[in-house]
Structure formats: structure tokens, C-alpha cells
Amino acid sequence: MTVESLEQIKARAEAAVPGSEIDIVHNPGPSRQSSLLIDNEHALAVARFLRIDPGLRLDFCSNVTGVDWLDRTVKKTVKVKKVIDGVEKEVDETQAELFPGYLEAVYHLYSMTHKHGPVIIRMRTADRADGARLPSLTPTWRSAEFQEREIFDLYGIRFDGHPDLRRILMWDEFVDHPMRKDYREPDDYEYEPTPHDDVLERAKQHYTARPQLDGAENIIAQE
């Protein structure tokens, strides 16, 4: 990690780029790698700051990846005051809150100069629509070029300002984005020697039912 804490980086970046809003996304997992969530409008300026700031000098973008967050509903039990039979009572009520889904791009930054890192930054799209947009950080880190293409290919995020945004792994004629969680591949099941889990469920739809010829179906439990 860097000498500075994420809070300090956030404060200095927000001071350096007026109008920018940076949130800290905490990671409760074992890695404890928290990250900075940068608003899309000022992302390029913040990225530029992270790169050229003498204290940080995050000059190496080692990894860019995408994340697909589906719509999720969080159910909460809330105590609500209700009038029942003329008497006011506190009643438990389940409320469901819908968080709309979004796509995320995550950048892992290191400094070759100061030998520190990673500082992780993220950007979020407004929704999961096919043309969801984010600003490209390729102008700041050249190594992000292919990886942003990969995110575009597999998740469908369009990066504004990318020099050459084309599919990189799938062929150009391919439609859809296979790393999205709701991607359904074509049902081309043929034969699987050891089907299990999802594959087993899919395989079952293709099985031809075999008549029960072993007599087991005729056995009746003795009273």
C-alpha cells in the first residue's frame, strides 16, 4: 500500500480536481483492499492527478477488469406503527428495497517510481444497458487500452475517448456480452460424460426418457 491512506488520497484528489466526488468503497474481505469510487465526469482528471502527483506517481496500471452487478432487492424488517382495531400497535413489516444494477470498471494502479501500490479505483455506469458509458482512462495509462477493449467485449461498457474500441476476444460478428451474469449461451448441448450442476440441469432437458424395464416401478411397500 501507499504511505498515504485512502482517505488522504481522496482528500488531496478532491482538492486537486475541483468538483470531483470520490467515495471510498470498503472491502470487508480478507484482502481488505478498499478502493476509490470516482465520478465519471471527473475521472480522467482524477486519473491524471493520481499519475502525476509527486507523492503518489501511480505510473503503472497493471490490471483493468469489469464487474457486473445485477439488480438486487434487499429485504428489511421494519417496525411500523399501525392502527389495528382502533388501537395503535407496533407491527413488524417487511420492506423490499430495489437497488438497480450497474457495471463497474476496476483499475489496479502501482507506482514504479515509489514502489508502492496497489491503489484501486472504480467507475460505475448508470445502468446495465447495452450502451452503458464510462470515460476511457487509456489517455492516462496506455496499458489500459487492450483491457478496456476486453471489458467492452465481455461486459459491453463503451469507453468514451478510447482510441480503438473494438471486440478483442470474440469475433466482430458476435452479439451480446458473455461475461454478463445474465448471459445465456446457445443451447448446443450434445453429450457430456459427467454432467453436474448447471450442466446436468441443461443435459436433462435433452435426455430421452428410458422406459423403466427393471421392474422396480412395480414394487409396492409392504404394509
Binding site: 476476444l169 470474440m170 469475433w171 466482430d172 460478428e173 458476435f174 452479439v175 451480446d176 458473455p178 448471459y183 449461451e185 446457445p186 448446443d188 450434445e190 453429450y191 457430456e192 450442466v199 443435459a203 435426455y207 430421452t208 426418457a209 428410458r210 423403466q212
Partner: protein
């Protein structure tokens, strides 16, 4: 024809210093002793293929050391590794560009069936969907000995090929196709997903 020479008579003549052979034997001996593979690898199987060709395992002992960078000069295609759907049309195209007689070794689980990536969105479920395969080697990846074994099996297969008659070698039969249609990139999969002339999916009933 070798079938017309009595084996006992032949060995008796050989003992006397007279060596009798047939056109078919000579022809097949020449072909099986200088199989030039096409030089390309697709994944980790290619590393084992390289080891097979290098000094420790030494494919040269079997006449297969001359890896050709051009399909026009190659006799054998070793499909060494995962065939992605993006790569498959190029493999078929390379196969079509190879002159007859030509052979294919499907090396490793991926080239046979897609292997661990079979249910993935981008991996072809076996190269035998588009081109005929002569020898399959299981393994992930197969050891160089396995590739040598496959090579020897192929040599045995060539040795048994006839020059004339009903069961003659494919390249001597004008009715046998030597080129196969190149699949096109579709919206989700290759089109067609398999060539029905070459490939029939195995059928199994389960309850």
C-alpha cells in the same frame, strides 16, 4: 502387391540375399518415414509438442522433425491445444491448404472435445467437428511419449493403406473430399456448429 507375395517365400528369398518388395510397401514406407508436421501450436499442448521435437524425445527418430511453417509443405496437422471458436475457421482453412495426402492428430482433451472449457462460450467442442481426425491423444496435456505413440500409430495407419481397390487411401480416391467447408462467424456460435458430413454427435440415453 504385398498381399500376393507369400510371406514365407519372401523371407526365404531375403535370407538368400534377394529383397522383394512391392510398390505399395515402398510408397508407404517413403511416406510414413518423412511426415512433416505443420508448425503451429494453440495452447499448452504446443509446449509438449515442442519438447517432443527437441533433443530429449527427438521426433526426428521417426522422420517427423521437419516442422513446416507453410501448410503447402506439410503432411500432418497436429492440433495441439484449445481450439477457440475464433480460431476454428483458420484451422479448417489451413487444413484445406495442405496438399494430399494429409493427416490430423488431435492432441489433448481440448482438441478432442473442448476439454475443461467445453461448456464455455468461446471454445470449440472438438476439432473433429470440421475436419477428419486420424489419431486422438487424450491427456491434459499429453506427455511427449503420448505424442510419439500417436505418431507411431499414424505410421502404422499409413503402412496399412492400400494404393488401389475399394479400401484405398483417401488421397487416391477422387470421390473423397480433401477440402472441407470453412465455418462462418455467427451471432453466438460458428455456423454451422459442426459439419454433418464429418461429425455426428454421440448419442446417449439417460434416465
Amino acid at each position: 502387391m504385398s498381399g500376393q507375395i507369400d510371406e514365407g517365400l519372401r523371407s526365404e528369398l531375403q535370407r538368400q540375399g534377394i529383397w522383394v518388395t512391392s510398390m505399395q510397401d515402398l510408397y508407404n514406407w517413403g511416406r510414413r518415414s518423412s511426415i512433416w508436421p505443420l508448425q503451429f501450436g494453440l495452447a499448452c499442448c504446443a509446449i509438449e509438442m515442442i519438447a517432443t521435437a527437441a533433443s530429449r524425445y527427438d521426433l526426428a527418430r521417426f522422420g517427423g522433425e521437419i516442422f513446416r511453417p507453410s501448410p503447402r509443405q506439410a503432411d500432418l496437422m497436429i492440433v495441439a491445444g484449445t481450439v477457440t471458436k475464433k480460431m476454428a475457421p483458420q484451422i479448417v482453412r489451413l487444413y484445406n491448404q495442405m496438399p494430399d495426402p494429409k493427416y490430423v492428430i488431435s492432441m489433448g482433451a481440448c482438441a478432442i472435445s473442448g476439454g475443461p472449457f467445453k461448456q464455455g462460450y468461446n471454445v470449440l467442442k472438438g476439432i473433429d467437428r470440421y475436419i477428419p481426425v486420424d489419431v486422438y491423444i487424450p491427456g491434459c496435456p499429453p506427455r511427449p511419449e503420448a505424442l510419439l505413440h500417436a505418431f507411431m500409430e499414424l505410421q502404422r495407419k499409413i503402412d496399412e493403406q492400400k494404393l488401389t481397390g475399394v479400401g484405398r487411401a483417401e488421397h487416391l480416391n477422387a470421390a473423397q473430399p480433401s477440402e472441407f467447408p470453412v465455418p462462418a462467424f455467427g451471432a453466438h456460435d460458428l455456423e454451422p456448429p459442426a459439419n454433418p458430413d464429418v461429425f455426428e454427435p454421440p448419442k446417449i440415453d439417460r434416465t
